[in-house]
Amino acid sequence: MNVIKNIRIRGLDKEWIFLKIPLICFWFGIFRHILSKNYKVPIPSGICKIVNCANLIEGHGLFFMIVASSLLCIMYLLDFKMKWTTLGLFSLSVIVFTSEDSSGILNRSGTFSFIFLAQSFAYWINGSNLLKLKYSRIQYSIQAVVVGYFLSGCSKLLDSGLSWPSDGSRITLQVLKSFYYHYYTTLDSTELVKAYEIVQFLTESQNILVVLLAGSLTLELFALTAAVNKSYARFYGIALLLMHIGIYYFMDILIVSFAVPMVFVMINPFYLAVFLYDKMLKKPTFPHTLKSM
């Protein structure tokens, strides 16, 4: 029994390492990017209505944020004092992302912050049970991701009802808007050529459009089922990734705050690559496990 438990723990450890390294690196990259934007928080929202976020993202506050976030990232990578480290990362994440929202750029990056709170819950609740902890810090992260998709599906039902997919013909207006956004950013006129090609394709392919929209609504509404089983979550993640690729192709929109944590948490591509490589070489995935026991 202990042998099986140990193998499971080693497997979960490896999965956790490949989840947390890309996640924290990406989070830190976005965090630094927002801090470099010199935002002045002119339209305070959320926590920035209570705390003066402008003071925290410039001058001495900015220095503190960079030092604190760097330290917390190192502690996170070392699995050090994780109850507090994850809470600290959550707090910094809320302050900085809310500062961005409060500068008029509502990116809805809540998933990035909430993942750390979910992981913190795992450490606070299951800290005394090693196997439970190692399982739950991954499973709670999956929940933090899929709940966003579920709510997005619910919003569509609440705002448009079941007719959302069939109302989709006017998505062409959103497609145009999106491609014009890119054009006005870079003045690359190929964006406009592509925009009108896609608008024409969508106008001529209404049935395909309804099927695609109905498919993505179904995926979103049933996203919580991915929290039941980790292997199933991986397949669900691949389906969601295909949906994001479709949105990117047709609408020129990459919802980074959704797609990136989803890929790291649900698909965990680096872990998957190592796992498949081991399988290819017909090596047991965790050979050291049995030796060390």
């Binding site: 990116n107 998933t111 499973q139 929940q143 709940v147 207006l173 014009y180 950013t185 870079t186």
Partner: protein, 147 residues
């Protein structure tokens, strides 16, 4: 029976508890980071807006030169309209309201970016369907001159 029910409840809490907490957070705090019901593209209205800047020769200034993006400026329009309590969409905004929103947008944009241009116009280009074909309507929101 009681034991089975308790086990099922425990399974439910550990499998969906975190997600449930987030949903409760959304109900309590609405669109407040980190909570959101992610309403992006939850409906497809008969309008969409994009925005652009021009210089004194009416040449388009790429947003990249202001270290921002068209998408961010699009978000800014919604945030500023909400801040000023001006309902927006469907081309319902009056000229005065557009000027008010535009002035505030320019203030926010220039607050965090150094202005390299002496004169800037902010335009809104909107798209809508009429008789099954797409039309567009461009309006000047505001002009800004550096003194």
């Amino acid at each position: 029976m009681g034991n089975r029910y308790k086990k099922f409840l425990e399974w439910g809490i550990s499998t969906f508890g975190v997600a449930l907490l987030y949903i409760i957070g959304v109900l309590l705090f609405n669109e407040t980071h980190p909570f959101s019901r992610f309403p992006m593209y939850s409906n497809f209205p008969n309008w969409s807006y994009s925005f652009y800047l021009t210089d004194e020769a009416n040449e388009i200034i790429p947003f990249s030169s202001l270290e921002t993006t068209g998408s961010s400026v699009g978000h800014l329009y919604g945030s500023v309209s909400d801040e000023l309590n001006i309902p927006y969409g469907s081309f319902r905004e009056s000229e005065e309201e557009l000027q008010q929103i535009g002035d505030r947008m320019m203030f926010v944009l220039l607050e965090s970016n150094e202005l390299k241009y002496k004169y800037i116009n902010l335009y809104r280009k909107g798209f809508y369907y009429q008789n099954d074909s797409i039309h567009d309507l461009t309006v000047l929101m505001t002009s800004y001159e550096r003194h």
